[in-house]
């Protein structure tokens, strides 16, 4: 047989197989889309029973399975940040609950075991005039203090700059730093932060994060009325019983009334839990 004919036959077979696979894949995608639309309609109907509506732009996020991650507290990073903020640390006091307080000529820094930080220091620069200048100064100070974030987002309002960022590629809903400039070259830093790379273990199982379940649990438990604008899956920082910092999979649901956190595993509203 000539090679030309062999190639023709091969092309025909490959075309047929590819068309079959394409059809199969397309069918699955179409089925998924139909299921998602049906689910969204059902959820909307159920939510209306609780007095909640979905915004026109709202789309149910894709379900996912996220591992609970752990973070080791880094006293070395905390001390480095304190040294950078204060110029030189003249006093270091560790309290019984794990809070470490640093003091220096330029101010004070306090780190708590759950990552909460409170600091007041001299910036060595003039107090910025306007939000744009505040953003520029904050970006420079955060870098100098070693407070870096993946996908860092800085926003400014009324002289206060807030920095958020992702950990393991996802937002941590209660991890943010606010830097307020005041007086003559002074700044107050507050918020919750973490250092280092999070980890899990090979045998750790993931937590299913199912958007529809979270929305319905939110509606049933919150007794909120209003419109759901969007929801995002991510993490929240919490300290477990052995004082290890955990990143727990959590939904953030934004409504026209405010923002709410729902634990993916327990299906509880965080305010209610705490």
């Amino acid at each position: 047989m000539q090679w030309g004919k062999v190639k023709n036959i091969l092309i025909a077979i490959l075309l047929a197989v590819n068309l079959f696979l394409l059809g199969n894949f397309g069918m699955k995608m179409w089925q998924n889309r139909q299921d998602a639309q049906r689910l969204a309609a059902d959820v909307e109907q159920l939510l209306s029973g609780y007095g909640l509506t979905l915004d026109d732009a709202f789309r149910l996020p894709r379900d996912s399975e996220l591992p609970t991650l752990s973070l080791d507290r880094s006293r070395a990073d905390e001390e480095n940040t304190a040294s950078a903020m204060l110029g030189a640390v003249t006093e270091r006091i560790e309290q019984e609950d794990g809070t470490v307080r640093f003091a220096g000529a330029d101010g004070t820094v306090e780190w708590q075991v759950d990552g909460t930080v409170q600091a007041d220091c001299d910036t060595g620069a003039e107090t910025p005039d306007g939000d744009a200048a505040a953003l520029r100064l904050a970006r420079r100070l955060f870098a100098a203090w070693g407070l870096q974030a993946e996908d860092a987002v800085l926003t400014a309002a009324d002289g206060t700059v807030t920095m958020t960022g992702t950990v393991a590629g996802l937002p941590v809903h209660n991890r943010a730093l606010s830097l307020r400039f005041y007086g003559t070259g002074r700044a107050a830093l507050t918020g919750r932060w973490s250092f280092g790379t999070p980890y899990t273990t090979v045998r750790a199982s993931g937590t299913p994060c199912i958007a529809a379940d979270a929305l319905l649990d939110f509606a049933a438990r919150s007794e909120q009325k209003g419109c759901v604008l969007n929801m995002t899956v991510g993490y929240r920082m919490q300290t477990d019983s052995s004082r290890r910092t955990q990143l727990t999979p959590t939904w953030k649901i934004t409504t026209d009334q405010g923002e709410y956190l729902v634990d993916c595993a327990k299906k509880t509203l965080i305010e209610q839990e705490e």
Binding site: G4, K7, N8, L10, I11, L14, L15, V17, N18, L21, L22, N24, F25, K28, M29, R62, S64, E65, L66, P67, L69, S70, R73, R75, E94, E96, D97, G98, V113, E150, A168, G169, L170, T197, P198, Y199, T200, T201, V202, R203, A204, S205, G206, T207, P208, V233, Y235, D240, S241, S242, R243, Q246, D263, A265, K266, K267, T268, Q272, E273
Partner: protein, 439 residues
């Protein structure tokens, strides 16, 4: 058809074939990915990581095979500038101390031939130079301790070590076992590792008891010791309360779901969850009893052929620790667990955990948690959950030096622990003679 036309046609066919093969590969991958259950794929597999980065899952985190210790030391000590400094019964202090001495212990715990030695050998060694001490609650297999520190120990791997003393002067590792026996093996850490640990370690001045009192010579006696701990009150636990959210998390820890069939007993005080291979009996007030039909258990430390040798115990410890952490987190007990004993017989391993509040053990009439593994499968588990809250009242524990002075002639150890008295947990100093604690 001339030669040039034939050549063009041939090239077109070749390119088409190549493109179709590439498309075939892509479509096969797309079909496979759309049908695969990512939840069942190992978190560290490249496919899982690719899927997560494509579809918004978590990525960029470390996946550790083990490494989280199932027990934290009760006491740590290290000689710095000729003076012994130590930390004890405080999670923060112990965490910080561990970070400083871990590299040193990783070098010390690098295997050796253990031999039974006399107390006088230990006494002589601790007076001969710099020392490092690690003391655990209960007897921890030496191989597990070595693994947590980053070292390895194979000879006498299952020896239940309670206290480890490294004497740099004599280059010896002493191991006090849970039954009070003393062993020693040659050990050597680099001078630089010792210096680095000494620079980073912070603690309170203390000394060895030596032969002054009827306690083990390596017992740490702190100068000006003022161990003040809060009294704990027991809060009622209702695992079935809808608002608690704990039941689902707890079921998930045992690989059950909220939809697993169950039946109630004792006026719904007890719920028994049953699936094809295992049963979980949950008492609303906190008693959990899990039983599985042998190797079919859904809770597994490892699958057949995945691990062997000392890694078997590591995997079982990891599985039990993780399960307990999840249960305690779900039920918000305010406590954590620490390994207390491990026993291996043929293919069965029994792990016993004690409940801890802020680094101090809570002693009860029964063990807090007991796990039994048959090879990789968890075949039974009992957990006695209790929720504690610290009260404003604090109690100062009898200093170790005074307690040591009050010992009888029989040599013993000393621990600080909570024990229940009239519905309140009170911290006290106990003598520990390896049969039962006595206040």
């Amino acid at each position: 058809m001339n030669g040039a036309d034939r050549s063009v046609k041939n090239t077109v066919k070749n390119v088409s074939l190549l493109l179709l093969v590439l498309l075939l590969g892509l479509l096969c991958a797309a079909n496979w990915l759309s049908g695969v259950n990512m939840g069942q794929m190992p978190a560290d597999s490249p496919a899982h990581r690719l899927y997560d980065s494509l579809y918004g899952g978590a990525f960029g985190y470390e996946v550790r095979s083990s490494g989280l210790a199932a027990a934290q030391p009760a006491q740590l000590a290290l000689t710095v500038d000729g003076t012994l400094y130590g930390v004890q019964y405080n999670l923060n202090d112990v965490d910080e101390g561990m970070a400083a001495v871990r590299p040193l212990w990783a070098q010390v715990l690098a295997d050796g031939a253990l031999e039974a030695v006399s107390e006088s050998a230990l006494l002589a060694a601790i007076q001969a130079g710099d020392c490092a001490v690690l003391r655990y609650h209960g007897g921890i297999p030496l191989s597990a301790v070595a693994g947590w520190m980053g070292g390895t120990w194979k000879q006498g791997a299952n020896l239940a070590a309670e206290t480890l003393v490294y004497t740099a002067g004599s280059g010896t590792l002493f191991v006090r076992t849970a039954d009070g026996a003393l062993y020693a093996a040659p050990a050597r850490a680099e001078e630089a590792a010792l210096r680095e640990a000494q620079q980073a370690f912070r603690g309170q001045p203390c000394s060895f008891a030596g032969e002054t009192y009827a306690v083990y010579p390596e017992s740490l006696l702190f100068e000006r010791e003022m161990l003040s701990l809060p009294l704990l009150t027991v809060e009622p636990l209702d695992l079935f309360a809808p608002a608690s959210g704990g039941l689902e998390g707890m079921l998930s820890a045992f690989e059950f779901t909220a939809y697993t069939d169950f039946y109630s007993e004792q006026n719904d005080q007890v719920r028994v969850f049953v699936d094809n291979v295992s049963t979980l009996r949950v008492n609303g007030t906190g008693l959990l009893q899990f039983a599985a039909a042998g190797e079919d258990s859904a809770v597994r430390a490892y699958n057949e052929g995945e691990v062997s040798g000392s890694a078997v115990l590591d995997a079982q410890l990891d599985c039990a620790r993780q399960l307990l952490d999840n249960v305690l987190l779900a039920c918000d007990t305010g406590t954590h667990a620490s390994l207390y004993a491990a026993a291996q017989a043929q293919d069965k391993t029994t792990l016993v955990f004690m409940q801890m509040y802020g680094g101090v053990p809570l002693l009860g009439a029964q063990d807090f948690a007991v796990f039994t593994f048959e090879r990789g499968a968890l075949i039974s588990a009992t957990i006695r959950l209790q929720r504690f809250r610290a009260s404003q009242t604090r109690r100062t524990v009898l200093p170790a030096r005074q307690a040591a002075a009050g010992t009888s002639e029989e040599m013993c150890g000393m621990i600080v622990a909570y024990r229940m008295q009239d519905k309140t947990c009170i911290p006290q100093r106990f003598y520990w003679n390896h049969t039962a604690p006595a206040a």
